[in-house]
Subunit: 223 residues, 2 copies
Amino acid sequence: MGDRDAKDALFDGFAEVAKALANGRRAEIVDVLAQGERHVEDLADEIDQSVANTSFHLRALAAAGLVVTRRERTRIYYRLASERVGALWEALRDVSAAHHGRIDDLARAYLGERDELEQITRDELALRLDAGEVIVVDVRPEVEFAAGHIAGALSMPIDGLGRRLRHLPEGIEVVAYCRGPYCVFADEAVRLLRRRGRAARRLEDGFPEWRRSALPFEIGVAS
Amino acid sequence: MGDRDAKDALFDGFAEVAKALANGRRAEIVDVLAQGERHVEDLADEIDQSVANTSFHLRALAAAGLVVTRRERTRIYYRLASERVGALWEALRDVSAAHHGRIDDLARAYLGERDELEQITRDELALRLDAGEVIVVDVRPEVEFAAGHIAGALSMPIDGLGRRLRHLPEGIEVVAYCRGPYCVFADEAVRLLRRRGRAARRLEDGFPEWRRSALPFEIGVAS
DNA sequence: TACCTCCTCAAAGAATCTCTTGAATAATTG
DNA sequence: CAATTATTCAAGAGATTCTTTGAGGAGGTA
């Protein structure tokens, strides 16, 4: 009890889990899986890598226990092992944003300048949604909406958003959200809406954070 | 905006921070620094590594922004960049315990069998401490007690605990705590106390978690 | 059974990481 | 100013990681 080798082995164990997140492609995978399960080919497409390499990274995540699988017909679906993994991913992003010198610049390079992009917090959105003062639009792909979305949100994937804007009720502020604080979909949606003269803001983060805050959410396709 | 290379670079940035935790020795350093600042030689001793290697790992942590330094006379003191880093470390331990297949075994090998070791939660301890029903003993080294401890706790470092037991008030349950859930000091203290016929439990985690829960704490040496 | 789809595995080269050794540096002290 | 203390740096050996390529499953379908 309490000897050095055993302590080193234990902390090497923690390090193995950190190692699973210590690769940009695996981080992207976790960010996608935080929205719901996906199969390998789909993930490969999402992170722009070969299926073989994606499979390699998924095995690394699975070996560390961060993801689990299920088979359905010929496909194998991966999902996060639990909400805890999503919370760890959120904590990692928080620390990175606060202390990693270049995250701000990298985020700006990817997302564009966000100065004119107004954000709304989860709590404020929950209040205004409850009061019927806003309409909430989920701009993620439909499969992610189906896996879980903010209660009352409309599914309007960013791809066809321009064509579907006419179906949005007029004269009410729109709040768009997507995967999380570093997801570009909601930014694009808000910019598009504002160009069309609509009042629009983006939720400060995304659906996974909303669900982890125990705010109301629904599962399934639009009614 | 939104292009692949920029996205990869951003997520590589998050991965760099994970990489900083992706080594057992660096994880041990973070666990110690969560208790308060330390200088390099001290840390080298704590993790049983050469000063040069410890310095190397500290630079890796500093490059990722996880730790910052201050100089005092000839020594350089390292500390965690913020509470966020401690929270990330806690999240990593949580995920490891929940999903990494071998953490349980590794923890048992290091800490010994914990079956007969009763634990108490933070919230229950806060209540019982408030009611004056327990006496709380901090068994970490004195320097860590001085950097911050549970309000009302007595400093009784595990090293000389046996000799100082006579100074403990009789007829009241003792709760021991130390650095966190994987710290061996409190386990040793509870076993020692119970061998001497005292009612004793250990706090389920440690001081950093107590402070992050916004429970009452004090800074400075014993009065 | 043969064939198809989806995924995993093995090998291999380039790049990166860990830790040791011994020298260099910065601030303090005599 | 030289000596001392605490820490960092540089170089290198050995291990590990990432990615690609092409082959090898496992399960489902005709």
